[in-house]
Symmetry: C2
C-alpha cells in the first residue's frame, strides 16, 4: 500500500478533492462545507493515516515551510548551539531547518545559498562570511527573507541579530584591568567583518581610557592558518620585551588554541597571566577563566521569530537587534 493521497480520501467518501483539501486546511468555514461532512473527512483522513505530500504543497503554494541556515561551521560549539536552538524554535512554527556550512569561504557561502534557493527555502538565517555581502544583497533583490546572525554588513540594511560586541569586549577588558593588568594583549581575527572590529574597538576603548593602549599588543590571525598564527603570536608576546600580563581572546576557537599554547609553554592561568575569552569553551576546568557569554538561545529565538515574520508578513524596515552579552566570572 503506497501513500494515501487526498484523492484516495475523496474517492472513498465520494466527494471531490477540493472539498477534502478545504477541510484539511481548516478552510471549511470559508468554503462552507457542512459540519457533518467536515467531520467525516477529518476522521477518514485520520483513519487512512493521511500525510500530505510536502512537495505538491510546496509546488502549488510556493512555500516550503523550510528555513535555510548558513553557518561558518556546524562543528564549532557556538554555531552548534545556535543551530540547536534555531531548530527547536523553528519546529514550533512548523518549520524545518536545513543547515549548511561555509567554512568561512564566501565562495562556499554562495554555493550553499544557491543550493538552499534551489531547495526553495522560504527564508534564510545566515552567519555571513567576510566579503559575502554581494550574496546577501542578491537575496534582498529577490525579496527573499534573510536574517543575518552574529555578523552583519553595515553598508547594507538588513535584519540582524547579534550581541553588543563593543560593550561586551570593553567589559571583558575592564575586568582584566580591575585585576591589575597593565599590558593586555588582544588576539583576534584579521578580518573586515564588523563584529570582530567591534570587539577590537571595545578592547581599545577600555585601554585608551586609562592610557594603556599599545597597538603592538594586538595580534591578528588568519582563519586558514589559525593554529600556527596563534602559537606564534602567543610566543612572541610572552617572550617579547613587553611584559604581557593579560590576554583577551576574541572567539572560542582562538581561546582554545591560545590557552593550549600557554599550557604548553608552562604559563599558568590565572597565576602567571590573566585571561578572558569571548564565548564559552566546553572544558571541565574552565571554571577559573572568565568569559563573555552570548545569549545563544535568545539569539536563535529572535532570528527565527524575525525570519518567520518576514516570510508571513513581508518586509517592512529591517530591524537590528543587539542583545547584551554577560561577563561570567
Amino acid at each position: 500500500m503506497g501513500r494515501v493521497s487526498i484523492k484516495d480520501i475523496a474517492s472513498k467518501i465520494g466527494v471531490s478533492t477540493a472539498t477534502v483539501s478545504l477541510v484539511l486546511n481548516g478552510k471549511d468555514k470559508l468554503g462552507r462545507v457542512s459540519e457533518q461532512l467536515s467531520k467525516k473527512i477529518r476522521e477518514t483522513a485520520k483513519s487512512m493515516n493521511y500525510k500530505p505530500n510536502g512537495f505538491a504543497k510546496a509546488l502549488r503554494s510556493g512555500r516550503s515551510e523550510t528555513i535555510g541556515l548558513v553557518v561558518a561551521d556546524i562543528s564549532n560549539p557556538f554555531f552548534a548551539h545556535l543551530a540547536f536552538h534555531i531548530q527547536e524554535h523553528a519546529d514550533r512554527y512548523g518549520y524545518s531547518v536545513i543547515i549548511t556550512n561555509t567554512n568561512e569561504s564566501p565562495k562556499k557561502m554562495e554555493k550553499m545559498v544557491s543550493i538552499l534557493k534551489y531547495r526553495q527555502v522560504d527564508g534564510f538565517i545566515i552567519v555571513p562570511t567576510e566579503n559575502g555581502s554581494r550574496c546577501i544583497e542578491e537575496l534582498h533583490e529577490n525579496k527573499i527573507p534573510v536574517v543575518l546572525l552574529d555578523r552583519y554588513f553595515p553598508e547594507i540594511p538588513s535584519d540582524y541579530v547579534g550581541v553588543d560586541n563593543f560593550h561586551a569586549s570593553m567589559k571583558a577588558t575592564e575586568h582584566l584591568l580591575k585585576l591589575g593588568c597593565k599590558k593586555i594583549a588582544l588576539i583576534t581575527y584579521k578580518t573586515t567583518l564588523r563584529h570582530a572590529q567591534e570587539r577590537r574597538d571595545g578592547y581599545v576603548s577600555a585601554l585608551a581610557g586609562c592610557d594603556l593602549y599599545d597597538s603592538r599588543l594586538i595580534k591578528e590571525v588568519n582563519h586558514s592558518t589559525i593554529v600556527e598564527d596563534i602559537n606564534r603570536s602567543v610566543q612572541e608576546l610572552i617572550l617579547g620585551d613587553n611584559k604581557i600580563d593579560g590576554f583577551f581572546f576574541t572567539t572560542n576557537t582562538i581561546s582554545s588554541i591560545g590557552l593550549k599554547k600557554l599550557k604548553e609553554m608552562q604559563i599558568n592561568v590565572p597565576e602567571d597571566i590573566k585571561t578572558v575569552c569571548f564565548d564559552k569553551i566546553e572544558s571541565f576546568d574552565f571554571s577559573t577563566i572568565p568569559f563573555v557569554q552570548q545569549p545563544i538561545p535568545e539569539m536563535g529565538k529572535q532570528a527565527v521569530d524575525i525570519v518567520v515574520d518576514r516570510i508571513r508578513n513581508g518586509n517592512p524596515s529591517p530591524v537590528h537587534i543587539e542583545l547584551k552579552a554577560e561577563l561570567i566570572v
Copy 2:
C-alpha cells in the same frame, strides 16, 4: 523577474518543454535531440540562469535528494562533528541534509522521523534513542533506507555504522591497568542501548582478566539527571571505602562533568587519580588525559555512502560496519 522555468526556456527558443527537459537531464542522446539544438538549449538555460524547481522534480520523480539526519543533540560536539562530515560528504552526491534532534527521547525521535517523512527525505541516518526500535522497524516496513549510526538494535537487522566499542573500551581500561591502577571505576549511562553495554563489557572483560572486577565500582547515571548523578557517583567513589585509583568515563558528556567534579573536589588528574575518556572533549588542557578517538569523518562518510547506495540501488542484505577506535595517549 520571477523564477525561470523550463517553459520559459522552451518558449524563448520555440521548442517543447519535453525537449528542454530531455537535454537538461543529459538524456538528449536517448531522446535523440540534435547536437545543435542541444547546445542552444544548454546555453539559453545558462544565460537565463535557470534553476530547476526541486519540488516539481521531487513531486514528479518521488525523490527529494535529501537525507534526514536524526541525532541525539546537535549541540553535543560528537554529533556536531558527525553532522559536519555527513553534510560535506552528502553534498558531493548532490544530497542535502536535514538535521533534527531527539534529545534522547523516543517520542521526539518518532516525531522527527515523521516530520522528515513528510518532507519526503529519500533516506535516513539515525542515531537512535533507547526504546526507539519500533520506529526504525516501521521505516524498514515502508522500505525507506535507514542507516543507524553510533548505536544499533541487535534484534533488528539494519545497516549500521559504528565503532568497535568493546575492544576500544577494553584497550582504554587496559591502559589504566598498565599505569598501575587496581581500583578502576566506570561511569556509564543507565540504558539498554547496546553500544553502552559494549563499552561496559569491554571494561568488565579487561578487569575480569586480572581479577580486578568489582561490580560496586560501576555507576550508572540517567540522562535526565546527569549532572547530579555523576556528581554523587564521583563523590561516593572517591570518599567511599574503596580506594579508587582510576576512572573510565564512557562518553564525552560524562567525562566533562566527571572531570569538573574531580577538579572541584581538588583531586588532580593524573597525579591523584588516572582517567580515560570515551570521545574527545574540546579542551585546551586535555592533552594530558588519554581518550578513545572515534573516526568521526570516516563514520560520516560510510553512513552517507551506504544510505545513498540504498537509495539508488535498493536494499540487499544489511551491512554492519564496525570501525576501529584509537586510544590517544
